[in-house]
Subunit: 235 residues, 2 copies
């Protein structure tokens, strides 16, 4: 029996129409669709974006992954998950692994790749629309033009990293601003950037919210799926 092919698929930021033709063509024929999910989630966000494109025979397999940055824990889980995938590929199944946004930008898919690359597997990764592109397009504001530089910074524990580089760049995208939103607002105010940002939450979904107001950033709850765009030259 032929060994199956493994696809990583970026399903985009939330709007089901922001998926590519290439991704849809794969989903229309795929045998098994893998959705990564954390223990907390009741439903996979990636699956809800892609489900209208799935063929009816596709089997859906939810693989749990820990919400942690502990590399050892991640490695144990992904080694186990990669074995499940390898077994299915050896049975001749074609498999698509769904990721929100783009598979190569802060996704869980990337942790899986090293385990699969060790084996001689046919891997094709299909890019997706990133949250920061979707957000900028939604509000009709350039992310970067001419010779401007653009910095993409994930905010988890590294708000200090953000503070270090905020002054060096023309434009910045802050990924996952939810946990440090108050501190972020203070840093923007300290640099007179309080009216030079836009915060886009749950872009392209029914719960989408767009704010240019520093008080929202400081005092309201910022959802997990949010993106902050800062433009020094003005919004």
């Amino acid at each position: 029996m032929m060994i199956g092919k493994f696809y990583g698929i970026g399903v985009g930021p939330g709007d089901p129409e922001l998926i590519t033709i290439k991704a849809v063509k794969v989903l229309e024929k795929i045998d098994i669709v893998i959705c990564p999910k954390s223990k907390k989630e009741s439903k996979s966000v990636a699956l809800s974006i892609a489900e209208d494109y799935l063929n009816k025979k596709a089997e859906i397999l939810k693989l749990e992954f820990p919400m942690t940055y502990d590399e050892e824990k991640l490695n144990v889980t992904w080694e186990r998950n990669s074995k499940i995938i390898l077994d299915l590929l050896e049975k001749g199944k074609n498999i698509a692994f769904l990721t929100i946004g783009d598979p190569m930008v802060y996704s869980t898919y990337m942790y899986l790749l090293p385990f699969l690359k060790k084996k001689d597997i046919n891997i094709e990764t299909i890019p997706g629309i990133t949250s920061f592109c979707a957000s900028a397009n939604k509000v009709n504001i350039p992310l970067a033009s001419q010779e401007e530089t653009l910095s993409i910074i994930p905010l988890r524990k590294n708000i200090s990293e953000f503070e270090k580089v905020v002054d060096d760049y023309d434009n910045l995208v802050v990924m996952k601003p939810s946990t440090e939103h108050k501190r972020l607002a203070e840093i923007l105010e300290s640099r007179n950037l309080e009216d030079k940002f836009v915060l886009v939450s749950k872009c392209g979904t029914n719960e989408e919210n767009i704010s240019y107001d520093i008080d929202d950033l400081k005092n309201k709850k910022v959802p997990y799926l949010s993106t902050l765009i800062i433009k020094k030259g003005g919004i």
Copy 2:
């Protein structure tokens, strides 16, 4: 008569299948498709990506824009072009303006926006797959993971800007490395990064080329539509 709607459409990096469902739905019904082109180009690259999705009645309008960073020249051209667009919108035509990659990342579309925003026009911009996402996905290499930072730098005249920030970032994307490819190779060598990059040219087209070899970057011609990804942690 109802005034028409204006769409900015990202058609992705080159592979016609890397366009979104949303973009295709617009192109299937659009009245007029605008392709920006320079004097040098015989054919619009954006049009060749999108043409299979156009409805047969769509009129194709090529608007010339100068290949210059002289803002005054650009402004004169775009003011003239925006008037052409406004006239057509007022005649009730729906118009799609095509851009390679994403409309908000170093596109010509962005220069047009301020002129259209002055008028009360219904503008919808549809994001596209960027060259750097397409390139990273093609070679199965993460652009950024965990708490890593990512810097996007356009290389035109600002190779000095690149040299200033190259040491601060975990991962860097160099857009348009063609003109300064020799100097770029020297900077990489001076930091022992000669085996920590990948150069992807004309991603997703028949002329696609992928190189991990510093000698290629230094000595071979680098096509205009190329992207260089540097990963300090290793490729």
